[in-house]
Symmetry: C2
Subunit: 226 residues, 2 copies
């Protein structure tokens, strides 16, 4: 099973790639520019260890070659990138959307979000993806700066999807990142809230100088294993 | 300094009243029905201890007598209650809005929210309150069931306000609830996100059978003291 990271040269994408490569996953860094994808793949291989499986190629080729596609582009490039990769996506593939519609993506504040007609970036992805592609929203609240380091991450990942099996698979992927716990956040429509939380966390980071994350309390331990 | 809890006979309001009374605050339970307010006040006194200062009266009288007014009514009664108490509010008073615009308040799902024209319930409160009343949004994510028990609560409170001093005062009030830490969530407009988080927590409660809350990670310890 291989994972394509579309926009994998960016901070969030390369951070996820690093963590999953270290956990033994096969990673394909995708970029609009194949050369940049190769450079990032080489850099990540140097960090993760030469025995790790990280390659790089143009976004469409990355999607064709992968079972799971993870979308990590800024919101300003979200729709355009989806239209670009659309011919390379196929029914049954899992498309993980990590996008937060920050106002910063069009020159506004990073503590504000844009209204997305469909309700959330993830729902926009579901509309733009070919029929049968299963969209899962996750990883919005993980700080890219922390992903790029080696330490365990003190944050939970809330996973939203209309497909229970795909959601479970992505929660398993989340748990491969040291420290991370994963929860079922319900249907894809709930991504509209989970995406927004990132704007609050960014505000806290600015106000208090930190890399904030969140932990969910008050649930039985089994909740984090399902 | 006394605190009026408008809608104080409900689960969230009576829970906050109990915790603050136990911490030594003077509490006035407000209700549309003065008799019900008195009954709740008596019940809370029995739980909190006879030396605690808890009284009950009609919402308007409660507001007139208090320095801080805490609004804990369901969203369906939010605007109407604000219009009712408006003549009893005065400039300089702090109005703490805990309201979450859950779709359940008009017969929809508790895991979905309603769009509020002003952006959030708290911003609606700011529009309806008399000029000079300082609105602070807080306590949305504290489970009423946990407030009504005696144990420390494993949850952080994110406080949003356009007035820094009022925000600080409400954070101090939050910290009087055992276990609770409080953070500055920025301007009142950010309440639109903090309010929504409750819908996600309710979804987790339904899915996993718990009383979920949230903790913010990755910030310096000093963040929770300011």
């Amino acid at each position: 099973m291989s994972i394509a990271i579309v926009g994998g040269t960016g901070p969030e994408g390369s951070g996820l790639a690093l963590r999953w490569a270290q956990a033994g996953e096969t990673i394909i860094i995708g970029s609009r520019d194949a050369q940049r994808a190769l450079e990032t793949a080489a850099k990540l291989s140097a960090s993760a260890g030469a025995d790790k499986k990280i390659s790089g190629t143009e976004n469409r080729f990355a999607c064709s070659a992968a079972e799971i596609v993870v979308l990590t582009v800024p919101f300003a490039a979200h729709a355009e990138t989806l239209k670009h990769i659309e011919p390379s996506l196929r029914a049954g593939q899992i498309l993980v959307d990590t996008t937060v519609p920050l106002a910063a993506s069009i020159g506004g504040k990073p503590t504000r979000t844009l209204g997305v007609w469909q309700g959330s970036a993830a729902q926009q992805a579901a509309e733009l993806a070919p029929e049968g592609v299963i969209v899962v929203a996750a990883f919005h609240n993980l700080a890219a700066d922390l992903l790029q380091q080696q330490a365990a991450i003190d944050c939970d990942v809330i996973v939203c999807s209309d497909d229970k099996d795909a959601g479970k698979r992505v929660r398993e992927l989340a748990r491969k990142i040291p420290g991370v716990r994963a929860l079922d956040g319900g249907k894809l429509e709930n991504a509209r809230i989970v995406e927004q939380i990132t704007a609050v966390l960014i505000g806290l980071n600015i106000r208090y100088k930190g890399h904030s994350g969140l932990r969910i309390t008050g649930l039985p331990a089994a909740a984090f294993e399902r």
